[in-house]
Amino acid sequence: MNALDRSCKENERRIKDILTSEDILVFRFQTADGKACAAIYADGITDKALLGEQVARPLSSQEAPATAEEAATALRAPECKQVTDPQKAAEEILAGNTAVLIDGIPAALIAGLKKMSTRAIMEPPGSVAVKGPREGFIEDVKTNMSLVRNRLRTPKLQFKMLTAGRQSRTAVAVGYLEGIADEKTVKSILGRIAAIDIDGIPDSSYVAKFLSRRPASLFRSAGTTEKPDVLAARMLEGRVAVLVDGSPIALTLPYLLVEDLQGAQDYFASPLRATLSRVLRFCGVLLSVLLPAFYVAAQLFKLQILPLSFLLTISGNVQGIPLSPGLELFFLLLVLEILVEASVRMPKYVALALSVIGALILGDTAVKAGLVSSSAIIIMAISGIAAYTVPDLVGTTSVLRIVFVVAAGSIGTFGVTLLIALLLYYLTAAGDYGVPLLAPFAPLVGRDLKDSLFKAPLGDLGKRPAVFHTKNETRLGKREK
């Protein structure tokens, strides 16, 4: 399409030809010397009060500016730029800005008058902190960027703005600390986002799929957080942040599996307490995945592993149960998944009734009816609860424990051992942006172990994690003894 010309009317027509929707409005007015002006904007996402105050009033009270530069000075909008392409102007209008056309000027002035109704900054329900900051990201990328900048007030904090989605034209901000984040990683992330060719990006998880080398993997390849303090801390370690407009979840790359075991409040608690918490979370994941499988394998193939008194109790429990231990636990885990799915989607007032039906009536009646054993229900309950010690891994653990139960039910303990070996082979080979998923354990990175399962005191974390290939390794200045 041709560039904008000097006629305000013609320019308005060209833009309206692109934006035919009825919510694209035109506000026509004149300068003091009678030249025609038009402000084109999208209804609902533009601040009309500011439009009148910063655009219409100054222009109508003076003579028409001769050039675009003069016009930009005349406007009182703090964000103002000029475009000559009607397509670009249309994109800006759709982003909530206003295109101002003045007769005699072959350009459109884009005034940043976006006004979106956003929810307030509040504590994210998925990452509640007992101690520490409570603010969380919202759906507006600009607000989220400001939250990060508020915590990292350094000129080295860089944001690269990109657009993704053919139809959605979603704004994506890639943030990193210059000199700390690995340049190759930043370049690679920018390249992958630029190469995204999809109609729409409803959420940051879509972008995460494009940023991953193995998008179909059971294990995610991008870290996520809803908290600016966590994001800032990760960026200080050398990670790159990706903020997507419309999503309160920020992505951090490269991702390490161990970061899911680290909680934000570990850094505010004593190192011993933090280490204990992390070890408990790790044991929680292991229990969640392996306990049902070992219960099945022990019952089917290796009774000796259980103490005699415990074995007698279990054998008393399972007498008369029509299903094999493998099938019994498989179905119980399925029921657990159904209950979880239903409780997430159900209105809050029904959730209480659901838990009564699910946990009490269904469980108790099933045991009384002799369909399942009470020990199997206990195992399922422990496994289900333990999974939530690391909420970010719940999706992965719930699939894995079913696979492990199937392996245990069919091949027994050796099947479980083989599956663990397979998982370890897979995990040791996985990783993106040159950072292995299982670092700092495999490959072993001694320095990074200080903040992994074990949490060293803050004074001992003098260097940034080596695994991110950061140029600037020092994070802690020399202390006086």
Partner: protein, 356 residues
């Protein structure tokens, strides 16, 4: 093959090398060398240690892979022939440990009648491992060390209350000839030095690497000797009948009545390391085959694993025959590939390098 780290090689020798010698090897050694089994094992370890030292010396002098060195000295054809021969050797050296592992799994990990079907999925894992590079092999060594360090000492500690170390005396009870025979006939359990030869050029020699690797080898050897000592101290004269030794030594601990067989938890952990170790000769076989044929890993991985599966099925009930063949008939072939050829290759490369 991608890059390995010296640390990972050390971990391999410390954790994965010993686990291959915890099943049938102690009983086989006790059969030949009786209470002097430690001497037999030490002799083998010294020979293999010498190979390790030579290879590390070679690594210090040249950072090139063995294939390149052979190619430079004898031409591409001979390099391919050598790799082909070693592929066969690694294939053969994988078979007996696989049958050992199969028997261990079926006899120890199951109480009910189990079939080969329970063991067969191992080959899927092995196939997957073969398609991965050396970096994955190294990272697995990183995982294996803590698992081994956690489980092996516990099993030894659980066995100690029942050990009578006087059973290892007198030291001169067995003639030297039998001790030497014990060593030679167990050469098939000593393939780790040959692995190192093929890792040449796939790790960067760093300052003090030879010392570290030899130290790690010594640590691994100590673990084997310790295990053999405890094993013989627990079972003494009936040791030669105790196959799957690792599963036997700790089973008499009195606390089991209240705790159950907790040693099984550590045994499962060791079984995990054993699984990783079983994959190594298969991976090395695929690596050699790839260099010989010049193809991607998928096809040789599938072929080698299928063949190993077929042989495992074929020799399902003939472990003793295969063991007799490997230890008493083919011992010289194993000794040749385990000690002589790697040493000769290293010496040749070092000598040629010195000459102008």
């Amino acid at each position: 093959m991608e890059k390995l780290k010296v640390r990972q090689i050390c971990f391999y020798f410390m954790a994965m090398m010993p686990v291959a010698k915890l099943l049938v090897y102690p009983a086989a050694l006790a059969f030949r060398a009786k209470n002097c089994l430690l001497f037999s094992s030490l002799l083998n370890s010294l020979l293999e240690g010498a190979v390790v030292a030579l290879v590390m010396l070679l690594a210090k002098k040249t950072g090139k892979p063995l294939f390149v060195l052979l190619e430079q000295r004898a031409g591409k054809l001979w390099a391919k022939i050598a790799y082909g021969a070693f592929a066969l050797y690694f294939f053969a050296s994988a078979l007996l440990p696989l049958l050992e592992q199969k028997n261990f799994v079926l006899q120890v990990l199951y109480e009910n009648a189990s079939t080969l079907l329970s063991f067969a999925p191992f080959f899927l894992l092995s196939f997957y491992a073969c398609t991965k590079g050396a970096s994955s092999m190294g990272r697995i060594a990183d995982v294996a060390l803590p698992v081994f360090a956690l489980s092996f000492p516990v099993l030894i500690l659980l066995a100690l209350p029942h050990a009578d170390f006087a059973a290892l005396l007198p030291l001169s009870a067995v003639p030297a000839r039998e001790i030497a025979k014990g060593s030679l006939f167990s050469a098939n359990w000593y393939t780790d030095g040959a692995f190192l030869l093929f890792w040449l050029g796939h790790f960067e020699y760093e300052k003090g690497a030879a010392g570290k690797v030899l130290g790690a080898y010594a640590a691994g050897t100590f673990a084997v000797l310790l295990f053999l000592a405890v094993f013989y101290a627990v079972f003494a004269d009936i040791a030669l009948r105790q196959q799957n030794a690792v599963a036997q030594i700790a089973k008499y601990t009195t606390s089991f009545t209240s705790l159950g067989r907790v040693d099984y938890l550590f045994l499962f952990a060791l079984a995990l390391v054993m699984i990783f170790r079983m994959c190594i000769p298969v991976q090395m076989c695929v690596h050699c085959l790839r260099r010989t044929v010049g193809c991607k890993p998928l096809l040789p991985s599938a072929a080698v694993n299928l063949l190993l599966l077929a042989l495992t099925v074929f020799f399902n009930y003939s472990f003793l025959e295969v063991q007799t063949l490997f230890t008493q008939k083919l011992w010289s072939v194993f000794a040749l590939f385990a000690y002589l050829l790697p040493a000769a290759a290293a010496l040749l490369a070092l000598r040629r390098r010195r000459s102008p």
